[in-house]
């Protein structure tokens, strides 16, 4: 019973093995990819391990407080920012090994040539509440 965030990067992760930009795939390959992702989520719903997922637009805005009575300052996007998150999925699994297994499956989504992308996904454990029995 541990929750993990699976992060998919537009930018910031090491290069995939099958590193071809999506706009160079065939339409059929894109369809197959989208189907794989949907099937993966469905499978997790069926095993009772799915919590949620969202895809994110590549454009973002940085916002910060600018003092009492002033509107927040907005800026960006910054091209030099290292990380750019493409989307996330949260899973609730029995432990780290299962989380790694699932991330590996997701990373096998087909890309150019119908071959697995071998994309690097970032796996981040949730901070939880402390256990009751401490000593």
């Amino acid at each position: 019973m541990a929750k993990y965030l699976l992060l998919k990067h537009y930018r910031g992760a090491p290069a995939s093995v099958n590193d071809v930009p999506m706009d160079r795939w065939t339409p059929g390959e894109i369809t197959a990819h989208v189907q794989y992702m949907a099937d993966f989520a469905d499978r997790l719903k069926e095993t009772g391990e799915f919590v949620g997922e969202t895809a994110l637009a590549p454009e973002g805005t940085f916002v910060r407080y600018d003092g009492e009575g002033r509107p927040p300052v907005t800026d960006g996007p910054f091209a030099e920012t290292k990380d750019l998150i493409a989307g996330w999925m949260v899973i609730d699994v029995d432990g780290y090994d299962r989380a790694v297994e699932l991330a590996g499956e997701l990373s096998a989504a087909p890309g150019a040539g119908g071959r697995p992308i071998h994309e690097w996904l970032e796996l981040r454990p949730f901070l939880t509440v402390p256990p009751t029995i401490g000593e």
Partner: protein, 382 residues
């Protein structure tokens, strides 16, 4: 389930009624659904006029729900040409109804999270929604987890009691990793363990019940008003629940008297020694180390050895504690936090501050991270 109905009474009926249905020949998965439906109906109908015999009422309604579902299912099955048409035999009479249910829901073929979910629903009588909220997952996800668990144990038959240790592990998980939600999972774990203790005579069941009561007793003192974690040494002991402590100690003593020591009894003995100290400085650390030695003989897990090292640090001084710690794997969770504490006690504040900060980064939960960061900040700014 809320308002106007004694929810705890209803939930207590759940495993009994389930047992009755299964003995009448209903298969476990369908019977469990029927009991849930009956409980929901009770919540709807009882406020207008509660029955004189609640259990009889729930049995009648659950049985009717089961028959309705079975009829609908038969019609569907004819179309699907299902092969598993053979009637499921009831549980063997050798095993008590409630006990059989505990064993089934904690069956080794289930993953821990499935066993926990199934136990809370079938034995605890909680709704899927309540369990989903407690574990912070969508209701549909929890529903799937439970129905898969039911499928997994569908073919299980008990001609003799299972291993009680598997049941205790599940109850321990419910108690120890209780999250939030509208159900108090720690209290629920105690309720279920109490009931198990009444159904089976086993010193480790008593040991786990004592362990839970002794830790539950500290609950009010464990959390600061801001939600922060208050470590044992800093807790306001006047806020400990003395009735729960007295009950836990009495149960533990009766269990220990039977001279069949197990891990839960040993852990409860340690908790009892903490409960016995009017102030942290008066803790009998020498005895606590002895109990950790017992615990390590039963199961020398890294967590036990780490806690033992901390206890040695209290009993024989921080240098002794650090020496005990040095023998343990550096990657062990909370090892750095323990080292920080022992270094501080030994007077090496610089190392302690650095280790507290490092431990904060590795903390598995937010409360511990905040606590450890605060410790580092305290040393860095004093």
């Amino acid at each position: 389930m809320t308002t106007g109905v004694d929810e705890v009474l209803l939930r207590r009926l759940a495993p009994d009624v389930l047992g009755v249905l299964v003995r009448r020949g209903a298969d476990f998965a369908a019977a469990e659904d029927a009991v849930q439906d009956a409980l929901v109906e009770a919540v709807r109908v009882w406020p207008d006029g509660p029955p004189r015999d609640p259990k009889g009422w729930v049995i009648t309604v659950a049985w009717r729900k089961f028959l309705d579902a079975a009829r609908a299912d038969t019609a569907r099955r004819r179309r699907e040409d299902a092969a598993d048409g053979e009637p499921a035999p009831g549980p063997a009479p050798a095993v008590d109804d409630t006990l059989w249910l505990y064993f089934l829901c904690a069956h080794p073929s289930l993953t821990p999270s499935s066993a926990v979910a199934l136990t809370l629903r079938a034995v605890g009588g909680l709704t899927t929604r309540q369990i989903a909220r407690a574990y912070l997952v969508p209701e549909a996800t929890m529903a799937q987890r439970i129905s898969r668990a039911k499928r997994t144990v569908a073919g299980v038959r008990f001609d003799r009691p299972g291993d009680v240790a598997t049941v205790l592990r599940v109850l321990y998980l419910v108690f120890n990793e209780g999250y939030s939600g509208d159900v108090d999972l720690a209290a629920e774990a105690i309720r279920l363990t109490r009931r198990l203790a009444a159904a089976v005579d086993h010193p480790e069941v008593a040991g786990l019940l004592a362990l839970m009561l002794l830790h539950h007793a500290r609950r009010a003192a464990r959390t600061a008003p801001d939600g922060g974690l208050v470590p044992l040494a800093e807790q306001d002991r006047s806020r400990w629940d003395t009735a729960a402590i007295a009950e836990g100690v009495a149960i533990l003593q009766a269990a220990l008297a039977r001279d069949r020591l197990g891990e839960y009894q040993a852990q409860a003995a340690i908790a009892a020694l903490h409960a016995d100290a009017p102030a942290a400085e008066e803790t009998d650390w020498v005895q606590i180390v002895e109990w950790y030695d017992e615990l390590a003989r039963l199961n020398a897990s890294p967590v036990v050895l780490l806690n033992r090292a901390v206890a040695v640090g209290e009993a024989d001084g921080p240098r002794a504690g650090l020496a005990a710690l040095a023998e343990l794997d550096a990657a062990l969770p909370r090892r750095t936090a323990a080292a920080a504490y022992l270094h501080e006690r030994a007077g090496d504040l610089e190392t302690a501050a650095r280790l507290y900060a490092e431990a904060a980064e590795k903390a598995p939960n937010l409360a511990e991270r905040v606590h450890l960061t605060r410790q580092a900040a305290r040393l860095n700014t004093s």
